[in-house]
Symmetry: C2
């Protein structure tokens, strides 16, 4: 790989504020966890697609590695520049270009922050359903990992809201995949291949996103259970009964305690061993009907109670505690986040396995997640382990846990992506022929292999 | 390309009833229209994936073209064997392998007929939403073209219901893409690349399909308008008002007349120039609310009336007439079906263009389609034109019409696919870089280019 010629880059980005060469902050060399650090020759902040195109043409001609990034909120090392070269930061391409109420689409630059976009759309009486926990991520980053979030049960994931993308290929060519059209049976879906490709195939610069009318009301319901083994099957029955919940979260009591300690707030029904937290949205009449059905069904399925979170305070307490888990864990110890997914009917078996394994291994494994789609978050807690011990034990335990998930038909990641840190497990899970096909896709898009090297499915 | 060795194929499929060599019926050499006819050395009817794999290995090693087909209901020549070789008919792989109520998925062989599958699932209290007009198509065929249908407004298209696929590659390798998991942020989505690839990348042999709970009730509402220019904007407003319709069809009066003549039935409100036919499904309480809102809004938006189709007879008449258009046209003349799509806010401009163009050209162009997603069906009517005149005029008029659609940001096909007969227009619409990327995908999957040669994006 060649060295970076700053003079040429200066001629492309004619603004000293948008080129970092010397004092490159560590935050540009890592992800949100900051544990894996790469190195870079230069960080560039393009403001339009032509700059991105010229940068890529230069990188392509000189075979310089390029690591694209949005806000860098990922947890799997996707934005770590492994082999130096250029870090391409897209956060200054953050314009909302068009809000098209007729086609119910919005066209935005890739660097628009999710929270800003959601706010913008909701102010117009509309709604962008994908809702991953991290709202400071960019839309481009969300698309790169096919971000999920809690509302996926009812509304699907980011992929389902991407109508079209403007992308810059590794060689600098600019092209559009997808469009404002709703239906498309015209040729191969390059768009769907790029969604979730974690910056390995192309740089996303613009996004046409589907938006929907804003639901009239939302409502949260908390179901306490004796334990998670009773809770999950109960929930699967509720799904089948067509109550159409927006989100279905499961939480075990010991995680709640962490959250209570962290926030100083208290969670209702402390005697329960596990909770299902559901939300509903839509018209109030529909909601009433759905909640009524859930009430009846839940009690029959073993719920200890049905708590409608209709007081402002109760609602806030519950969601503040639910929202703080990762931070609550990190306040007491370093942690490694796991974001695997299993078929919904395997959640109980998987959670039971982890629970047993936790006891056996002595490593605390905080569990919570999305019961409606089998997406399970674990925090592997370091405690006071030394560097060596932590590294060794963590790998051993992660191995065991992913292996169990794969045996149950699961996948490495439901929403965080693979990046660098989940690669070793993903490569084990995935059939060699599938990997080989993916690598051939890579060669078709980026023959010189300059984009986000060594990430996810790449060697 | 080599000649087919029947002896070897006989050793793979050891059943004379499942190999056709001599008297190959024309139906295996064409599509549902039967206008374009290819030729084949042999038609094979495998009954399991191992046979498919062995056939493909043989074809790969000997570089023999293979044209896969389901029920052959396509309208664009997708199943025409252009260069001889093997026609691979998957209709005998028609087992429903698993109905998994826990994960709300069904696993079926690719040759299962859509109508059979819908019936099976509904008998179990569940629902498979994709509902293209042609119910005798196979599930594998539906996936190959990413079939749409009327319910797409609310439920999306076939792509949205494909969780996983077992496929056989051109070289005979068997692999799975996707899984029963709901969320997936693990590597490139090969599954989404194969959906809609019209048999050019791999042979689909098994499909894991998402199913949902069955809606409690369905209801149809007919809105008569003065003309289509008033009707469409009215409907877009209704969509924005969150009434959540399942289907939104538009029909012009002169098409209704054809349908009435064909069926002998009569359509309500004959004085209208155009109609919007909506369906709703869900719980009865929700439906009532939605329909109430539509009533109010529609009258405000220029509807002449709001007819709730609550009598069995009225409902049947309306849907029988709506369902017979293509057959009604074909009863009076040969026709060329067009299935293009434009952004929903361009429907009026497009329809007006076609209406003007019809007068100017003297070729009748029957119009109807899905107002909710911009998918417009045209029947170009031959009338008593001679072969030469028909061929010449048809190409000229199709050119003009597709060009207008592309100018409006539209696409060649919303649900039928590209196949052979829409290729010339698709290649015009699509940027050379996109085509080149697709062809590189093809080379990655099928380097020897034996699968469904010359179709859709291929040269």
């Amino acid at each position: 790989m060649a060295e970076v010629n700053v003079k040429i880059l200066n001629s492309i980005i004619n603004d000293g504020d948008r080129i970092l060469i010397d004092k490159i902050d560590d935050s540009y060399l890592s992800d949100a966890l900051g544990r894996i650090k790469g190195h870079a020759d230069v960080v560039l902040f393009p403001v339009n697609v032509d700059e991105v195109s010229k940068i890529m043409r230069y990188a392509w001609e000189n075979q310089i590695p390029v690591t694209p990034r949005g806000a860098g909120t990922n947890l799997v090392g996707s934005t770590v520049p492994v082999e130096g070269g250029i870090v391409l930061d897209l956060t200054r391409m953050n314009q909302i270009i068009e809000f098209d109420e007729e086609t119910m689409t919005a066209t935005v630059e890739a660097g628009v922050v999710l929270a800003d976009f959601q706010e913008y759309v909701e102010a117009k009486g509309c709604f962008y359903p994908p809702d991953p926990g991290e709202k400071t991520a960019t839309i481009g980053g969300n698309i790169s990992t096919n971000a999920g979030g809690m509302r996926a049960v009812k509304y699907g994931v980011t992929r389902d809201y991407v109508r079209g993308l403007e992308v810059v290929l590794a060689n600098g060519e600019i092209l559009w995949v997808g469009s404002k059209n709703v239906k498309d049976a015209s040729g191969l879906s390059l768009k769907n291949l790029i969604v979730g490709s974690e910056g390995t195939l192309a740089i996303i610069t613009k996004c046409i996103l589907k938006i929907i009318p804003k639901p009239e009301v939302t409502l949260s319901v908390l179901l306490p259970y004796r334990d998670v083994k009773t809770a999950i099957p109960g929930v699967l029955t509720i799904i089948k009964e067509n109550a159409n919940p927006t989100a279905i979260e499961f939480i075990e009591r010991d995680v709640i305690k962490l959250g209570e300690d962290y926030t100083g707030l208290s969670f209702p029904y402390p005697k329960a061993g596990a909770y299902i937290l559901m939300t509903f949205d839509g018209r109030s009449l529909e909601l009433e009907g759905n909640v009524e059905r859930v009430k009846k069904s839940a009690i029959k399925q073993g719920a200890l109670d049905v708590l409608i979170l209709d007081s402002e305070e109760l609602l806030m307490n519950v969601w503040k505690i639910r929202g703080c888990f990762v931070k609550a864990v990190e306040a007491v110890s370093e942690q490694e986040p796991v974001d695997l997914v299993v078929p919904v009917n395997k959640i109980v078996e998987f959670i039971s396995y982890v629970s047993e394994y936790e006891k056996k291994s002595g490593m605390r494994m905080i569990r919570f997640g999305h019961a409606g789609d089998g997406n399970i978050h674990l925090c592997m807690v370091r405690g006071n382990r030394s560097d060596d011990k932590w590294e060794k034990e963590l790998q051993e335990h992660l191995n065991a846990i992913y292996q169990k998930a794969f045996l149950l038909g699961g996948l490495t990641s439901g929403e965080h992506g693979i990046g660098l840190s989940k690669r070793i497990f993903y490569l084990k899970e995935t059939a060699p022929q599938n990997l080989e096909l993916m690598r051939q896709m890579k060669r078709a898009f980026d023959e010189r292999e300059i984009l986000n090297r060594h990430k996810t499915y790449l060697a």
